[in-house]
């Protein structure tokens, strides 16, 4: 897979350059990035470096968290910054899928799995989703497609199940881009590995490009084609995982690589 710098504009999916702030406090400073169709790019930074802010800003959702964004977001040749809220709504969930960090807070605990799937479906499609399509979707993320599971309330799911459901909802409309914000940080090591494999599979089989946001360099290295290092609101280094691990250039990247756990 090609790295960011050698892209032709034909297969370019996303290109952005953003500033973001909460009140007078700047959080992102001229953060630039691009993503090719079908590419997995990891954005790695410490907590507080502006990772989640970027995830929301790219969907034009940051104002719901009291933030302000300026700059440019071009998705599939369309500049998103000038779009109305209703035009953005037709892009969210349809062209951009979002997998947030914690299923415990991101899934409405009172709603049944069936309702969540059906509502996500009707956001961008007419008619009702049929049982077979629901089952295919759930099996896609290794969840049971049974009636009993569909009738469970989101509040009753385990964290692993919830995270898989969030992924299912995000890929329901076959988006070109998946933004995953720390999607494995709430999971145990084994479930974490399984979810990472799932993302790699979705990328391979559906061709979905993934912007994978994480604080954990090691976990993203296994699936990312390219790693961007975010430090204090700016991207300080960018390259394929092998290069980042082997020859980190920026002092912060070097600290990150040095801090990784070594095999005992």
């Amino acid at each position: 897979m090609s790295s960011g710098s050698s892209l032709s504009s034909a297969d370019e999916l996303l290109k952005y350059r953003l500033n973001a702030r909460y009140g007078a406090t700047p959080v992102l400073r001229e953060v630039e990035g691009r993503l090719a169709a079908g590419e997995i790019a990891a954005l790695v930074g410490l907590s507080g470096s502006g990772k989640s802010t970027l995830a929301l800003a790219l969907q034009r959702l940051l104002h719901y968290r009291g933030g302000r964004v300026d700059g440019s977001i071009v998705l599939e040749g369309t500049e998103l910054m000038g779009l109305s809220e209703s035009a953005m709504r037709s892009i969210r969930g349809r062209r951009i899928g979002y997998v947030p960090q914690s299923p415990g807070t991101a899934l409405n605990p009172k709603l049944r799995v069936r309702t969540l799937i059906d509502e996500t479906w009707s956001a961008h499609a007419r008619g009702r989703m049929d049982d077979a399509a629901r089952q295919t979707l759930l099996e896609r993320v290794q969840l049971p497609g049974t009636g009993a599971f569909l009738d469970q309330r989101a509040g009753e799911l385990s964290t692993g199940q919830g995270q898989r459901l969030l992924i299912a909802l995000a890929i329901l409309h076959g988006p070109a881009l998946l933004i995953a914000d720390e999607p494995t940080s709430a999971l145990d090591a084994i479930t974490q590995a399984a979810v990472l494999r799932l993302f790699a599979e979705l990328n391979r089989e559906l061709g979905t490009a993934i912007l994978f946001i994480s604080h954990d360099l090691l976990s993203v290295a296994s699936i990312a084609h390219r790693v961007d290092i975010l430090h204090e609101g700016s991207v300080v280094e960018s390259g394929p995982p092998g290069r980042i691990f082997g020859e980190p250039v920026h002092p912060f990247t070097r600290d990150l690589v040095d801090a990784m756990p070594k095999r005992p």
Binding site: R89, R92, I96, Y98, P100, L107, K110
Partner: protein, 259 residues
């Protein structure tokens, strides 16, 4: 648990007798027996008659029907209005609610009620009395509901629903309503007994439901004459029924909110 069940049974009984008042009551609420005014309780008139010779028991049944159906209806109206107002949430609402809560509604109400033409049909006055209470009472529930809505706006699931491109009204109806429902129900349960009491207070001032339609309020006016009460303790029946109903409603709603 036992108290709650007893309260429920009592409320159902009162509700039933209210609904069935036209069938159960021995006489119409306005029928006058001119030859027996102020009759003592007895065989023909279970609670006696009032000074116009009307059967007190029948009037109490009809009054109960008025209070137990219209007070909850007014409470439902208040909560509904609060929800409508909250749908347009924001700074405007918070200011509006503060103003709404600081208006001395009771006095405004007395003035409004006094402005009604004297020939207003009694049935209209009944509905109007409760409708005005319902309209005036929106601010309290709006404040509580808008607090819950503000909390929901910050919720992760709200942001997630938005990220899925779900339409605003679907988010409100499908995602938010299950959370708001219990808050709205609690407001309703708190307001219903308050409106029963409010009507009774207005009735005492002669500004509630107009004669000859009976209500707990205008029946309680007789208590202004202690000597009459000493003579005929059955006059206390509306007061006792009012207290029992309020007690039952409170017992019922306290348990609910603990859950």
């Amino acid at each position: 648990m036992i108290w709650r069940r007893m309260a429920l049974i009592f409320l159902v009984l009162v509700g039933l007798s209210a609904v069935l008042a036209p069938k159960v009551a021995p006489y119409s609420y306005s029928e006058q027996f001119r030859d027996s005014p102020n009759a003592p309780p007895g065989g023909k008139f279970l609670l006696g008659t009032d000074d116009m010779g009307r059967d007190r028991f029948s009037r109490l049944l009809y009054a109960t029907a008025v209070s137990v159906t219209l007070a909850p209806a007014a409470a439902a109206l208040s909560v509904l209005l609060a929800l409508v107002v909250c749908a347009f949430h924001g700074r405007v609402l918070s200011g509006l609610t503060t103003i709404g809560m600081s208006i001395p509604w009771m006095f405004l109400f007395i003035i409004l009620r006094a402005e009604l033409p004297l020939n207003t049909a009694p049935e209209v006055s009944v509905v109007l009395t409760f409708a005005l209470m319902g309209v005036a009472g929106w601010a309290g529930p709006a404040r509580v509901l808008s607090g819950s809505i503000r909390e929901m706006m910050e919720a992760g699931w709200m942001l997630h629903a938005r990220s899925a491109g779900i339409a605003r009204w679907r988010i409100a109806a499908v995602y938010a309503w299950p959370h708001l429902r219990s808050v709205a129900a609690a407001q309703f349960r708190a307001l219903a007994p308050a409106y029963v009491l409010a009507e009774a207070s207005l009735g005492l001032l002669g500004l509630g439901v107009a004669e000859p339609v009976p209500s707990w309020g205008n029946l309680l006016r007789d208590l202004q004459h202690p000597d009459m009460v000493r003579e005929n303790p059955a006059l206390l029946a509306p007061l006792v029924l009012l207290m029992l109903c309020l007690l039952a409603l409170e017992a019922f709603s306290v348990r609910e909110s603990v859950q």
